[in-house]
Symmetry: none
Subunit: 122 residues, 2 copies
DNA sequence: GCAAATTAATGATTTATTCAAG
DNA sequence: CTTGAATAAATCATTAATTTGC
């Protein structure tokens, strides 16, 4: 009755759980972008609570994280620039910093207020 | 008998027609998963032929579509994983580098390039 | 058959994160 | 370090399916 076709899915690679990623991100963003052996052991211990993980995987994770961040940095958001999307929540805080930036203000003008049309129901 | 008494129906949301959904699906599956403002306008124009719809709704549709597709994949993945995860109980006492477990397929040179822990980083 | 009650889908809001500029 | 712009994730809310009792 069940699927007799169980693919021999050998866990070839670690598949992090959401919780684990949250932990890793937290650590990463707290400044530890390049943990040493001891630190990796400690991190691994925390992650183990949510699933099996090897030290190497933890190490790789940090390597990849940093690498990708950089790459994205390089790649820029050309894509984003050219294809705007809609509706953003304006989180502008009242910062009193002398916003002298009257210079090159690149206003993209997204559809901040496209709220919205009369849904003529059937 | 008409409806002199308009129902206090708070048309809260758009109710897409079948044709409209077909169009949206087609566009989505053609690769445009995150249309920008201009594209949304264009898409909306097409949809209007079959019923009233706002730009915001179009935007929301794509957002939700992508988001939920992702979520589904995650759920499936998780399900799959839990099916096969019974893992070795790595109780190896001593420090061990023997990562004989099934997890990471890194064997010989696990963390070769792990730079030694920086002494008292911060 | 039908309508109230319950559940599943999904449109609309809100919140948190990301990246880059200043 | 702060802030602006845009997104994606999480959440809320309402509508459509469906189940159930009559």
């Amino acid at each position: 009755m069940e699927k007799p076709n169980s693919p021999p899915k050998p866990r070839s690679r670690w598949n992090p759980k959401r919780e684990q990623i949250r932990i890793l991100e937290a650590i990463y963003s707290s400044g530890m972008v390049n943990p040493g052996r001891e630190e990796i052991k400690s991190i691994r211990a925390q992650l183990q609570k949510f699933g099996e993980v090897g030290e190497a995987s933890v190490h790789y994770w940090f390597q990849n994280r940093k690498s990708r961040e950089k790459r994205r940095h390089r790649q820029l958001q050309a894509a984003q620039r050219s294809k705007y999307s809609a509706d953003t929540r304006v989180l502008s805080s009242t910062s009193s910093t002398s916003t002298t930036s009257t210079s090159t203000s690149v206003q993209s003008k997204p559809m901040t207020e496209i709220h919205n049309s009369p849904p003529a129901n059937t």
